[in-house]
Symmetry: C2
Subunit: 293 residues, 2 copies
């Protein structure tokens, strides 16, 4: 999807939070916000919103000289999620529909997003888990379940650190099929890298590849040719998070998007309020491709 007008002030707001995250010096903060204004003004507004984030956070790393600006946050988020893991596994074990609950929890984990959210409290995560346990998903659950059952192989596009621990709950239930987990190729806000997947213990369960890109989403043309081949050949793609939805919703593939609605723009597109747990199928899949799967 392309950038909406409303994405622009939201992006600037995110830049203000990022500026405060990397420095306490008002002059540095102002310089960073000025850079953000330049970044957003320089990009093509027909690009998906994560393009702005990619350019800005790359510039932010240059300015600060820190390649991975949110490393400490990511480690903390992984730790926090790993502490919750045993109890969540127990919930899934006693659930009448383990796949449904694991899917809901994987979506609940998408609350851990430093792009859209500023400060994430443990109470926010607990609230998301409670919602996952109690509220239905919006979207194409039955179709998703059938697609997972029918899939020859699954490409699982991860989103954030911390969240990736929640992804493990779902991945553990679908690894009867070959699952390849995809992480970002380089730091992008708190998005999961290979190290985060390893922290979550996923390297022992599935193949992990990276997409070769530092965008907080999946800008296909910006990804490595290896990833592009895997993406093109994938039988079923599970794409986590709003950034992946924003960058892939126009791609003609068999993609299911799992995320929590983070902003009014997506809320308007989906027709559901902010906070909704969404599981929707790519709407641009052609009938030919669709009938083949």
């Amino acid at each position: 999807m392309q950038m909406y007008l409303d994405c622009i002030p939201c992006f600037v707001q995110q830049a203000v939070r990022a500026a405060r995250h990397v420095s306490d010096d008002p002059d540095v903060q102002k310089r960073i916000v000025r850079e953000a204004l330049s970044c957003i003004n320089a990009i093509d507004f027909s690009d998906p919103p994560p393009r702005a984030g990619q350019i800005f956070y790359r510039r932010l790393s240059e300015i600060t000289g820190i390649p991975d600006l949110y490393q400490a946050d990511k480690e903390m988020q992984n730790r926090l999620a790993l502490e919750l893991l045993p109890e969540l596994k127990r919930q899934i074990e006693i659930s009448p529909d383990p796949l449904l609950l694991a899917t809901r929890l994987a979506i609940a984990g998408n609350i851990i997003d430093l792009g859209a959210h500023g400060n994430l409290a443990i109470t926010d995560i607990q609230k998301a888990i409670k919602q996952a346990l109690n509220e239905p998903l919006f979207g194409d659950w039955e179709e998703f379940k059938a697609a997972v059952n029918a899939a020859r192989d699954i490409l699982y596009l991860a989103d954030n650190a911390g969240e990736i621990v929640f992804d493990r709950l779902l991945i553990e239930l679908i690894i009867a099929k070959p699952v390849t987990l995809v992480v970002r190729g380089a730091p992008a806000i708190n998005d999961a890298l290979r190290a985060d997947a390893q922290s979550a213990g996923l390297d022992k369960l599935v193949e992990i590849i990276d997409n070769g890109s530092d965008a907080p989403g999946t800008l296909i043309g910006d990804c490595s040719s290896e990833f592009q081949s895997r993406f093109a050949a994938a039988d079923l793609i599970i794409a986590k998070g709003q950034g992946n939805y924003e960058t892939l919703s126009d791609e003609p593939h068999n993609i299911y998007f799992l995320f929590k609605v983070k902003c009014q723009v997506i809320a308007g597109q989906i027709g559901q309020p902010v906070g909704t747990q969404v599981l929707i199928k790519s709407k641009v899949i052609s009938p030919e491709i669709g009938s083949d799967r």
Copy 2:
């Protein structure tokens, strides 16, 4: 006061609303938002926030070729307020403290602000009036009352159209002293111009001057020399609206600011929530000046 970091996304949000106000064409809207990003990036962040608005709305008039972009809104706001006037006058007549109620209502009228607010509904105005009738002011009411009683003359800096009708309620109670009403010198969002003061019938009650500037606030150095002289010589200044507060809060004069808190930045400064009815005295007045008045 200088621009806060948080003013910047808020300003961009305002620009998005302005873009939608002046055009339905997505390309024109995008161009306008790009102009806003350039405007905000070009200004000195130590300037007060209304400087950004001044430069942006001036540019918006150039782009659209429309000198007064909110003329129809202002006329509608004046009409709306004039319809409410008789009932509000009656409320003041039966009030045990007419000056207090008129002051509260003058502040309530400050809800009519197209800068901070997007779409203003009649229900918002009714809510503000109800609040004015029921909730206390935050600030220096007793001091203000004494200052009005002691003043040799009063310079009354208006803010918005529509609001200026509410100002009339207060002005009618203080015209035992010479009152000069100041409007903007040229269109600035929905800020009141001479025509709006005339619509409110204020030309029959007090002298009206304009400040010679198109800023949505009072940037002294940008105002006419006539206004600057009147400002310097004024015994008591009543400044309406957040824009006047943002531009004059550091001026060493005997100023009382009357406004509704419109944003988190000012809420943080004042220590009161958004929506609070504020009447505060300039804190930078020197003891020498203060003791003379």
